[in-house]
Structure formats: structure tokens, C-alpha cells
Amino acid sequence: MEPKAAIQEFLLKCNGHELCIDCIRCDIVPAWTSGHHILALVSSGASIEAEQGLFLFKYTAEILSAVEELSVETILPIKGDFRKHLVPIQNANVPSTKRAILQTSKVKVEIDVVSDSKEQNFFSRVDECVQANFEKIKRGISAQFHWIQRYQVPMPLVNQTRHGFDAFGMSTFNDFETKNHRQTVASSQFYPVRPAPKPPQPRSHSVHNPSAIQRDFLNPTAASAFEGGFFEDTYAMVDSNYATMKSENRLSASDASVERNPYANLAATPPKNATAEEEFSEYIHPSPPKPRQVTTNHPLVQTSSSSSTSSSSSSSSEEDGTETAKDALKFEDDFYPRVQPTKPPHLPPRPYKQKQTKPSSTFYMDQVIADGPGDEYSEVTAFTGSATPYGIREEVLKRREKDYTYLEPFRIFIGTWNVNGQNAAHSLSDWLMSDGSPPHIYAIGFQELDLSKEAFLFNDSVREEEWRVHVEKYLHSDGKYTLVRLVRLVGMMLLVYVREGQKRFVREVITDTVGTGIMGKMGNKGGVAVRLMFHNTSLCFINSHLAAHLDEFERRNQDYNDICQRMRFEKDDGTFYQIRDHEFVIWMGDLNYRISDLPLEVVTDKIEKRDFRVLLEHDQLNKQLDLHKVFHQYIEGQIGFKPTYKYDPGSNNYDTSEKQRIPAWCDRILYLGSIAKQLVYRSHDTLLLSDHKPVSSLFEVQVKVVDESKFRKVIEEEIRKVDRRENEALPQLSISTNEIHIGDLHFMEMRKFTLDVANVGQVDTGFSFVNKLDEKSYCKPWMRIQPPKGFICVGEFQEIKIKIEVNKQTACFLNSGQDKLEDILILRLDNGKDYYITVNGTYQPSCFGASIETLVRMVEPIREMKIEEIQRMVQEQTDWSEESEADITTEKFDIPKEIWMMVDFLFRNGLETEELFSKGGFHEELVAIRDTLDTGIPEAMPGSIYSIGEALMLFLECLREPVIPYEFYNKCLEASNNYTLCKQVLKKLPRSHRNVFKYLAAFIRELLLHNDDNKLDQKTLATLFGELFLRTPPSEKEKESQMSASNRRTLGQQRTRKKASFVYQFIINEYDE
């Protein structure tokens, strides 16, 4: 049989409708035909836009003799971004292999081909094919293969039993995993396809190796494993001659599968297989296939048999294929047991619709009959009290629902009709408009809306629009309706309409679809559903078409269970509702349950007499309901109408065809939930279009309507509660005091305070002292807080130590009045309030921390002067750089009297003292010296020589400006090697500073005269006084702080040397003006 014709016929048989394939280039890969694969580019002619797929078919016989031998192995959806390229690959085991990569954003097929004389045409053929269609492909619409994504839906484990039969290669349909959050390259083929290189003998080998067959045959999961899409990122690799399609991440995939028992569900499989076969045959095989064909047609069996072929007949392989075959065999051995694996049983499905429409829970309505689009939003925006924009948990509002809702009856019309693929025609008034007053909501379900191939393969239907428009013509004429949502899967369509006036009370509209058809996933059977909130009541409408055939009631039960299990209404937050999460559930559709165990004559007779009792007893659905096998807890109204199936279309006669089908109540409406009253349940015999009659029902549903003023009240109450709880949860501390009084404070005097902080709130809390705005530290530099932050548990308390001491760094600012002994500490709680702690005291000025300029003008001791006076003097002399000789008129000492007093003491008592300046004094003596200097001119200085020595150094350190003012710092360092230059710099110093310098230099020289006794040397003294005279200016310190540690050290050493060198110049030379 000519492959092209075979494919055409095959596709034709897929749904038995007119040809919609206009381009089949199945001859493009002739070499594949020898390997029993045909790569065909299939385009649908039904659409102007190219809708294409690269179909990989395979067949079982050496020569394709019958269509039944052909099956679809994989489909590569082709979109605008389709790419193909060829790469040579190096493989030690495979001489000269080329790889063709055909890729879209969703899938990637890699085909490895050993360069064999037979294959040389292969790539050029692929290329030719792609080129010929590339322009067309580029225009391809992306939505066209949504149905493939659709069937990624994982199957619950219970369902796997029926998937053994992969007659349509449908397992591949589930492999195109496209999770929203990641771009995946999915596989199109998973189990190794290994046509024998030599004339294959699949059947004989399948006999030789029955275990192999059985393994796969009995293990349906081999096929269904891929449904879950855990083979994401897998590639299919097809070695045209021998090898395999393999998944790129097969290791991980197979690892995962190893853990599962691949033989699970074995027992249940065979009969289910048969069932699946029959179901399938309804679509593809008009007549029951021959047993042999069942086997050979079974891709799994085929696969395993061919694999066993290659294992047992590798010796007969072609020369250049042997290694490949071995390699592949090894691979396969590893791969095989693991490839039958499993999948996550409950991955959320990805309803294809939602990808292209608005987010599911977004309020969404298609305006259909509204006067104009203008008022759409204004109504929608109106306050709908039951939503929760208030920061209150939904659960809380739910709990209080009765406080703000009241019940109001609304009428919901439910209609269901299997239209047998007919065009929309004839009036629907008798069905949709059969009640006096217009219902508030319509939910209308169709089955077999479209039996075309596009609908089946691409879920694309022109009938959708046709029927929607038609339906809208016949909605109740006394009401205006708005389409809330349309959802369709292949031939199942559900339309939900709401009265104009009520549309603003409809929200959280979410849809989902579940296919339970071929392979348990295709949309020829299954269900579609819409859930929504109407006022404050949740409603769910399901329209389903369950498995056909008289004997298949168990499959119908199974379909029902599948739909229940897999129907998920996904919310924005990723959670989902299921069917039973709703207060009122309506399940309609062609449920396909038949009247069994009664001969046709009896049934016909009873129908004529309208004696339904016996018939209803034999109704499969009633039986199954009684057995609790299906629709548990659902209620169906009393059936008072004739069976709705099967009629001769266009008539009211039951099936007169040779099949003589027994009439049945296929079309049913069931409901779940106690809030509804079924008003009518009926069929409509006047509609003759289909072989089914439409059925309808009217419900009066007690809907919870929100009383907006009450709702407001509840909201406010709840908000109060939340606020109260939140405010109570704020941390609370009790602090022992908000004021710390330091009192009078002197230089070098330490005060300690303790702050007791207790957590008196209801939550544990961290605390920390925080910086005030634009300040760098949380407290003044003369204060230390320990700990500055911490954590206090409820009921516990913490001591916070506060130490206050004015030292050489801080004294001058307090002395000058630039700083005050005042601060406000901010103690901040995590997530809570701030506490202020005020610290204040009075600093007693001291000559320590004063400036030379101020001191030389102070005739009296500093303590006897008023603070204002000191500050005035400080202000006056700040600008000493402009000092001129004219200023001499002001009465000034040459040097501060305090320096003279200390030096004089040392000169008279300490010139010969060893360890002068290196041995520390005593704190008490230092305090006494401070007081002596600050309060008066004593007869004698208190304290030891060492203490005086330290006091002198401290005094020099504390000077507001060092002896060599900061301004001259760099100049001095630069001049330090040259005495002349040093002298020049020195000359420029303010007079008092120069005097101090000269005086102290003279004192140093004096000390060195006694170095035999005091053991002091030039270098030590130069270094010591260098640091004291030439204090590094703050600006330089800042620069230093930005240097690296090593640079800083080097620079520090250099500076120390230069400082010492500068002083040294004046030790060895007696400076004289």
C-alpha cells in the first residue's frame, strides 16, 4: 500500500469525517519506511492558516498492507518558531552519525541517523519538506496544538489500567509538558522504537520472547507513564535504521520509574485493554480488528517484540549497524524495565483555555446581549460585598456569613442535548423557552457538538460559535442574558448565561475540562465545567459525555470518577476547587447509561404505554446509583419522559436502523446540594435535529444574598477585632526611668547608671537604641550603652548599663560649649514604639580640653570663670590665624600657666627621675592635679612626678588645637628633614603655640642634659613629643580610615618618623628667633 494513501486513510479513519488533510508528504523519508517509520508533514486544509504537525507514523509489517498496521508514534506540532538543523555527531560506537533536530518552543525531536547509503537522502528529504512548507509554517498559529498540551493531564493511577492500548500513539500526546513556570523541551517519544534492521520478524520473536511481550503488554503504564509529563526535557531520538528514540533525561526519568513497581495494575489490565480497544475502534476502526493485528498494532508489543528481535538477531544485523544495535540494546536493557513507569498521580491539569483567556478567577464576562459595552464595567464595579478586600480572612467572613446574608430563591435552567454533530438549526424555543418566566441563570450543555477531525485533533470548532449564536436567539425573550462563560472540549460545550441584572453578582468564574476518551484523555468523552460564585453561593455546572455502548456502564462509572478526580478549578493563588467544594452542583449530559436486560420489544412496548417503572428499574444509572457506584449523594428527579435516545434524526421514531438500538435515557440531569428544589425535569420531543432529544430542568435555588449594610457591619466588627489583636500584640516595655540626671561632671570622671527595662507586653520583643535622624550614632561620644540592643521575653527584664565619661576626645567640645552634656536616647522596639530616655548634666570646664589661646588669656583658674565667659573667650580666639602683632596689647601669658606649672614642677623635681613619661600616674592624683590646675595656683603641685608627667602629656593631648595646629601639620611633616625649613614653618605658628613649642623643646633639651640619670634619649623624647605636638588632624584620620590596613600602617610609620624628626630638629638645635 502506498504510504501516503495509507496515512490519508489512517487520518480519515481517525474520525470518519471528510478529509481535512491537504498535504501529506509521507514520502519524504523513504529510508524510514524500511525501518517502518514514516515522517509525514500533515497540514489541515480546513484552516487558511497552516495547521501542521510532523507526524511520525510507524507500522508493523514489512510492506504496509493495511491501514491498521499504521499508528502515530509522535507528533511534533509545528509553529512559527519551528527550527530545524543538522549536526554531525561523534560517537565512538556509531560511525558517522548525523542528527536532525526539529524543534519548536515546546518540543524537540532529535533524529540520529547513521550515514548509510540508504539514508543519504534522509536529510535532504527532511529539508525539502521543511523548505517547501516553511513559509506556511511560519504563519502557523500557536494555538493549534493546544490540544496536545491539554492531554498532558496526568492520569490518576486508577485509570492507568485502561491505557495499555496505545493504538493512536496517544501516549505521545501527553508528553508535551509545558508548565507555566518553565520552558520545557518535551519529548515526543519515550519507548525505544527499534525496527529490526534486517527484515523484521516481530511476530516470531514475540513468540520467542513472550516475557518481553507480556511485560509490556501487561504494563499499561509503559505508555501512560508519559502522561504526567515527568519526561520533561526529554528528547526523542530516532535512529532511522536501528536505534532508538530516547529521552535525554532518561536517567532521571528511569530512576524515578524504577522505584515504582512497573507491574502495578497488572491484573486489571487485560480486560481494560480490550475495553480501550473497543472504545478506540469506535473512532478508528470501523470493524473489530483481527487478533493478530491487535497484537502487532499494539505499539508496546511492537516495541518490545522488535527490541527482542534486535537482541536475538543482532548477529544478523547489517555490518555497520551491529555496534549500534548492541549499543542500543545495552541502552535498552537499562532503559526498558524503567521506562514503564509512572508519573505523579495528581499533577494539576492545565486547562488549555485558560492560557489564552484571562486568569481564571478574574471577573470575566463576555457581553452578549447587553445594550452596549459602555455600561459593562460600571455595573461590574459596583460593590459586591461578599468579596474580601478588607484584609480579613475569608474563613472569618465565611464563619459569619449568616450574619450578613439572607436566602433568596433564584431559578436556574439546565439544558442538555447531544446534537449528533448537526449544524445549528431549527427553533430551540420549545427547549430553552418552555417556562413562563425567565430563569436567572441558564446552564446549557451540548454533546457531540462537533464530530469533525479539527475538533477532535485541534479542539477547534466552527460549531462552537454557530451554536452559541443560535442558543442566544432562543434564550427566554423576557430576559436579557449575558454569557458568563463558554467552555468546550471537542464536542462538549457548556454555556452559562446570567440575567443582565444579576451579572454583577457573578464572580470567581473558573472553568476546567477533563477528557476521558481515547487513552482516557482525549476529549471525545469527558466533561467540561464552569464554577462560579452567585451572590454568596457557590455553583458548579458540569456537562459530560460519558463512555458509550450498552455494556460499558463500568467505563461510564470510571469516566465519572475520572472527571471528579481530575476536574480542578484553579484559583489565582494556585489552590483549586473541586466539584464537591460547591454548595450546589449540577451534573448534566449524555451520560450514556442504557436500559439493559430488557428486550427491545418490551422496552418499546413500555414506552408506548408510558409505563416507565420497569424501564427505570432496568436503567443502568439507577442501578449504579443504588449500588453507590457513581454519583454518590447526587439526586435525580423522577423521570417522567420517554427515553431520549436513539431516534431517527428528523423524527420522533426510535432507531429504525439495522442496529435497532434499545431506547435509553442517555441524557440526564443530576444535582447535589440541599439548597435547590427541582421544579421540572423533562425532555423536549419536538426537537428533531438529533438522534437525542434535549432534556431540561428548572431549579429553584436558595441563594445567599449579601445584605450590604449588615455585611459592612460585620466587616467593621471583624476589622476592629483584627486591629485590637494587632495592637495588643504590639510590644510594651516598662522602663525604670525616662530621665538620667548626671549632675555636675568633671573631666576624667566616670558616672554609671542602670536602666531597668521590663517586657510588660504580650509578645517577646527585640529592642535597640537607634540613631536620631541624620546622626551617626545612637548616643553622644561621651556615653557608652551596654547592651545597645537585645531581646526581652515577656515578663523578663534587662539591665542596661549607661556609662558617662568625658575623656580627651570629647573634652574640648564640651569645654567650648560646642557640645552639651545632654542627649535623648531612643529605645526602639521591634515593630513597635519608641521610648525616649533623656540624659542631662552639667560639664565643669577644665584646662584639660581647652585651647592654648584661651588658656593664655585666662588669668584666673578656669573653674573660677563663668562658663559664658569661657565660651566668649573661645569664640574670640577661634580665628587666631589672623592674629597680628597688634594683638599683643591684649593681656596674655606667653604660655598657659598650667603648662608652666607642670613643667616647672618637673624641672625642679623630676629631671633626674627614671621612667618619667613612661611610668603611669595614679587616677586619684591625676584628678587632684586637674582640680589644682582648674581651681587655683597652688603652692605645690599634688601627686608624684609620674602623675605630673602623665598629666602633662594628657594636657597636651587634650588641647583643642595641638601645639602645632592642624593647619601646619602637613607642612611640618614635609619640612621635617630640614632644620631651616622647620624653622620657617615654626615661625608661622601663632605666637602662643610657638611659645609652648619653644618652651617644651627647651625642657626636652634640659631633660637630655640629665640623661645619665633619667635614661631618656633623643629618639624616645622626639617620638613621644612628636605625637603630642603633631596630632594627626581629623581630616587626615578620615583619609587613613579609607586606606587598606597595610597602607595605613606604612603611612602611620612614616608619619611617626617624620613627627619625631621634626621635633628632633629642635632638640639638637637650639631654636632662637
Binding site: 478574574t362 464595567y377 464595579t381 460593590f383 459586591t384 468579596a387 459592612r712 519608641d834 533623656t838
Partner: protein, 211 residues
């Protein structure tokens, strides 16, 4: 600082949060106003606030909900320099004075000036003449304050934390005047956004925020 406390979990849906600061001379009743507004309580002898107290309160308007983070500041002069820590980044301020004390009104005016200079550019300022229950000791005339408020485009009410008069009202009035941006909460429902749009329009038309 500006965002402290604004990311607390507070239920399922996000909502607008605003920082509001109370300013005013000490003992005019700032803490009492907050206590009345948040907890519905009044203490005759409210402790002086030494620090800054933080409380939250949610307000339901016709269509939306917003949440105030209220910072009640210390009124004493010596803490004046710390006030910017709280009014910086605030979207709203209530400047409180005591109708029985002219000085507090003068102080309120300096607060308003400071807010105009250093507060957030679009800060909504409300002037509250508290202790309205003590009208017999009134030293600040209603009309004077109202005229001042009009001149400065301030919301103005005389309030009484003791009798609760106008306490909720002044916070509600602020809430209504606050602009609500789309980005201040990820509304799940389109309605919310529309409402916000509408609301903002109204605010604009009213011109109460324009200065």
C-alpha cells in the same frame, strides 16, 4: 523607618496602608485622640508620652479599606527635634491643639509650617481643635482656626477625645482624602482597581489635595 510595620501579615487580601503622625504641643490630647479612635477609650489622666507610640487602625470606606499606622509623638518641646523621624514618610498628619489654650494653636501653626517645608510633598494635614467639650474655657475661636485651615487647605474639625466628638470623623475624612494608588495593593479583583480609579478622579475633581 518609613516602612516600619507596613508588611505585617494582616489577612488574606492586601490593602492600602498609610502612615499617619500626630503632632502638637504637649497635653493637647494627641494620645487621647488616638486612644479614642483605636480603642474607643478615654482616660482623664493620660500619661505624658515620652517616646512615640505606635498603633494601627483599619478604616472601612464605602468601597475600600485602608489601614493607618498611627504614630503618636511626644509633644514636649525638648523632643521637637525628633519629630521628623515620624513625619518623614508620613502620608497624613493630624496637628492637634487645645481650644482652651491659645499657645497650643500657635504651636500647631508652626507644626503646619514645618510639615509644609519638610513633610512629604502630598501629605494630608488635618487640624484638630481638641477638648471641644471644654468650650466654656475656649480661647481659640472656631472661626479663626477654620479660616486658618482654609487658608492652608487643611482638613479641620474640633474634636473631643473625651466625648468622642468628631474623632472617627476626622480620621475618616483623612482616609477619604488620601490618594489610593493601584500599586498600593495588588487587588485581586478588577472592581477594586476601577473603584480606585474612580475614587482618585473624585479626589482630583474635589481639588482637596491640590495645593
Amino acid at each position: 523607618m518609613a516602612n516600619r510595620g507596613s508588611h505585617k501579615p494582616n489577612g488574606s487580601s492586601p490593602m492600602c496602608q498609610f502612615k499617619l503622625v500626630l503632632l502638637g504641643e504637649s497635653a493637647v490630647g494627641k494620645s487621647s485622640l488616638v486612644l479614642r479612635f483605636v480603642k474607643g477609650q478615654f482616660h482623664e489622666f493620660q500619661e505624658s508620652t515620652i517616646g512615640a507610640a505606635f498603633l494601627t487602625q483599619t478604616v472601612v470606606l464605602d468601597d475600600t479599606t485602608l489601614k493607618f499606622e498611627i504614630w503618636d509623638t511626644a509633644g514636649q518641646e525638648r523632643y521637637h527635634s525628633l519629630a521628623p523621624m515620624y513625619y518623614r514618610g508620613s502620608q497624613a498628619a493630624v496637628v492637634v491643639y487645645d481650644i482652651t489654650n491659645q499657645d497650643t494653636f500657635a504651636r500647631a501653626k508652626t507644626w503646619v509650617r514645618e510639615l509644609e517645608k519638610q513633610g512629604s510633598p502630598n501629605i494630608v494635614i488635618a487640624l484638630a481643635g481638641n477638648k471641644a467639650d471644654m468650650a466654656n474655657k475656649r480661647m481659640v475661636e472656631y472661626e479663626d482656626a477654620q479660616a486658618y485651615a482654609e487658608e492652608k487647605s487643611l482638613l479641620f474639625m474640633e474634636t473631643s477625645a473625651k466625648t468622642a466628638m468628631n474623632v472617627n470623623d476626622i480620621f475618616l475624612a483623612i482616609a477619604k482624602r488620601l490618594p489610593r494608588n493601584d500599586d498600593s495593593g495588588n487587588r485581586q479583583r478588577t472592581q477594586g482597581q476601577h473603584l480606585e480609579d474612580k475614587d482618585r478622579r473624585e479626589v482630583k475633581e474635589g481639588g482637596c489635595c491640590s495645593k
